[in-house]
């Protein structure tokens, strides 16, 4: 009798777990659509769901959409990378620097991506080879990468941009702004492709399976012959590459390389991952759901901008984080650590 009761309550729980995130997304969209209806027309100019603002939202969502999927895989294997924001800033700076100094788009893009590999590899090295606690190791690299970005930018100016001597070519903003598909830019399409690849990686390749195994039961994973060091190192490199892509998109969007442009990205990723139902003790999580979580954050950020003054943003985001932590705690079954 008790057995049956248990089954039913776990089924309930499971359904809520799978569904709540879509509910939240819909709720948020509805709230923001409704809130200013007295002032603007539904779907009209200035409304939350107007084509312009949707386009805007999606364009601004490109960085987090690019990064949070890879971040999810890393968290599933029970590791973390707090340096994603700085890696993104550094990439933005480097990319703009390359463009400013005459490189065309593809070479600059590729070179920045290579740097992303390097940044991720360094993280992997510190965590897996030197066996420094991931939080501390990536806080260290957070500062290193941020410092590097700040140092590349000459003193006195806010970022890598047009100066008296050099001109930033105007095509730099094409990647993140020029309409390519349904009014959305190439960077968005790339983000979609990245997400698709990551979803496939998670569901259909060793990467997804092994990260869940490593996070779920590391001993079992090792006993089965999985090379944990190589696998997690790879995940860190993937996150590094994605951070680089996000940085490129941001630099293109702003037409300059801002060394502070990635600040807070790690917090956003954490919120997205929490909302998406990833367990912090590893083993469980979904790239697709994290992306929904990322969309929720973007809706909140852009939606709030129209409703409340900017100085409420930090507070609002922190409340979302705390709520996400609570939700995650209630719904996601955390492993009991041995």
């Amino acid at each position: 009798m008790t057995q049956k009761k248990l089954c039913r309550s776990t089924d309930w729980r499971r359904t809520i777990k799978n569904v709540y995130i879509y509910v939240v997304l819909v709720l948020i969209v509805v709230i923001f659509s409704v809130v200013k209806l007295d002032q603007v027309k539904l779907f009209g100019r200035g409304h939350f769901l107007s084509p312009d603002s949707i386009t805007n939202l999606l364009r601004m969502a490109v960085p987090i959409m690019t990064v949070s999927g890879g971040f999810t895989l890393l968290m599933i294997s029970e590791y973390i990378d707090l340096s994603v924001g700085s890696a993104m800033s550094l990439s933005a700076v480097v990319f703009s620097w390359l463009v400013l100094n005459g490189f065309s788009f593809i070479p600059a893009f590729l070179m920045t991506m290579v740097m992303g590999v390097l940044l991720g590899a360094i993280n992997g090295f510190l965590v897996m080879k030197l066996r420094i606690t991931p939080v501390i190791a990536t806080l260290v690299t957070l500062n290193l990468y941020k410092g590097a970005a700040l140092l590349i930018v000459p003193d006195g100016i806010s970022g890598i941009k047009s100066t008296d001597i050099q001109q930033m070519p105007s095509w730099i903003s094409d990647y993140a702004r020029q309409k390519v598909l349904f009014g959305l830019p190439a960077s968005f399409v790339v983000a979609l492709v990245v997400i698709a690849i990551l979803v496939v990686l998670q569901r259909k390749t060793l990467i997804g399976k092994y990260s869940a195994a490593i996070g779920g039961n590391r001993t079992a994973a090792e006993l089965s012959g999985i090379n944990v060091v190589k696998m997690v190192w790879l995940l860190y490199i993937i996150v590094g590459i994605l951070a680089a892509m996000a940085g490129i998109a941001r630099a293109s969007y702003m037409s300059l390389g801002d060394p502070l442009s990635g600040d807070g990205m790690e917090t956003d990723c954490i919120i997205a991952v929490l909302l998406g139902g990833t367990a912090f003790t590893g083993g469980e999580g979904s790239v697709a759901k994290t992306i929904i979580g990322a969309l929720i954050i973007m809706c909140m950020t852009t939606g709030l901008m129209t409703v409340i003054d900017p100085y409420y943003q930090t507070f609002a985001k922190s409340v979302v984080l705390i709520l996400a932590v609570t939700l995650n705690h209630l719904l996601v079954r955390q492993k009991v650590s041995a």
Binding site: L126, L144, T267, P310, Y311, L321
Partner: protein, 340 residues
């Protein structure tokens, strides 16, 4: 089997504990760095400069103490920077006079003493939130304290509309932050820091509470089985950390006679850096307040040298990252050599 007479109260050769060894090691590093700096940085050895080195980071040391105790138990507290800002802002807001036209010049008009106490209570609330999630719900401390960091800072931003509050303050407001030892430039804040450090060292080394902190860090399961009330202890640590941050916030706000929402950005990382520089380890019940102080001095020497060498402030981040990294490696190396 040897016994009785041949048992020594301390071990042979005055062998010191691992903590003392690391603290000593980092102190030697400090002295070495100082000497190197004297060689390359103009006027580094001047008395006033040395004084500054010691007093520069008083605020990071105070919050570093809370972070040290918590890291010893294996937990982070990244909310301290936000709490500093929030407490400063709230303390101003609470005692700003009630009449005025500008929204940023109007407050709750409470007496100064009450405003201060109330602001500290708010700081404690943040500590309570941390304690609830971390000690009770066992959520990862890094995650939730990143959240409460923004939460506290966000409150500061809301109350100051994103800027600061610095008008219509009672006379008493600027007193403690700007008081100094007569004849010197040593501020009261520095004295307070020294006092807190002394208290913290005493607690760490000589009290049951300090001992229990180490026990939890060394083996929380054994601690629990030995009767240590782990949840209660962690709660107290988070409350204490918030309180220290609150006090720092009050002192800073008093010094500048302003509650600035952007204050103390990055201080939480500095606190962690000096703790790590001081040898505190996240995984071993290993921690030292004195070490943290030494760590603060090391950071001070390094950053002052950078300034003295006319490096731009942008170098700070790289320097902190590199220094922390080297310290972790060096400490690990030194400990391994000692054991092996």
């Amino acid at each position: 089997m040897m016994n009785g007479n041949s048992i020594q109260k301390t071990t042979r050769k005055g062998k010191m504990s691992n903590e003392s060894f690391i603290t000593l090691f980092m102190f030697v590093v400090l002295v070495a760095l100082f000497c190197i700096a004297c060689l390359f940085v103009p006027n580094f050895y001047m008395g006033q400069n040395i004084l500054n080195l010691v007093t520069n980071y008083w605020y990071v040391i105070i919050i570093g103490i809370g972070v040290t105790f918590l890291l010893t138990t294996g937990n982070f507290d990244m909310s301290v920077g936000g709490v500093i800002a929030m407490t400063g802002v709230l303390s101003v807001y609470f005692c700003q006079s009630t009449d005025g036209s500008q929204p940023l010049a109007v407050g709750l008009g409470l007496p100064y003493g009450i405003a201060v106490v109330l602001a500290l209570l708010c700081a404690l609330c943040i500590g309570a939130i941390n304690a609830f999630f971390i000690a009770k719900l066992r959520v990862a401390s890094i995650i939730i304290t990143l959240g409460t960091m923004s939460f506290a800072r966000g409150i500061g931003q809301i109350v100051t509309l994103g800027a600061q509050r610095n008008t219509s303050l009672p006379e008493a407001y600027g007193v403690i932050g700007n008081a100094a030892i007569p004849g010197t430039s040593v501020k009261l804040s520095v004295l307070i820091m020294v006092l807190i450090v002394i208290i913290a060292v005493v607690i760490e080394k000589k009290t049951v509470f300090g001992r229990r902190t180490y026990l939890i860090g060394a083996n929380s399961e054994a601690a629990r089985l030995s009767g240590v009330k782990v949840t209660k202890h962690l709660t107290l640590l988070y409350l204490a950390s918030a309180l220290l941050a609150g006090v720092t916030g009050l002192l800073l706000a008093s010094e500048y006679k302003a509650g600035i929402s952007g204050r103390a950005t990055g201080y939480e990382f500095d606190a962690l850096v000096i703790t790590l520089l001081g040898g505190t380890s996240i995984s071993g019940g290993f921690g030292s307040v004195l070490g943290t102080v030494v760590g603060a001095l090391i950071l001070s020497v390094v950053t002052s040298s950078a300034t003295g060498l006319l490096l731009s402030p942008d170098w700070q981040f790289t320097i902190k990252g590199v220094v922390t990294f080297l310290a972790i490696l060096a400490q690990r190396f030194a400990l391994d050599r000692r054991k092996g």
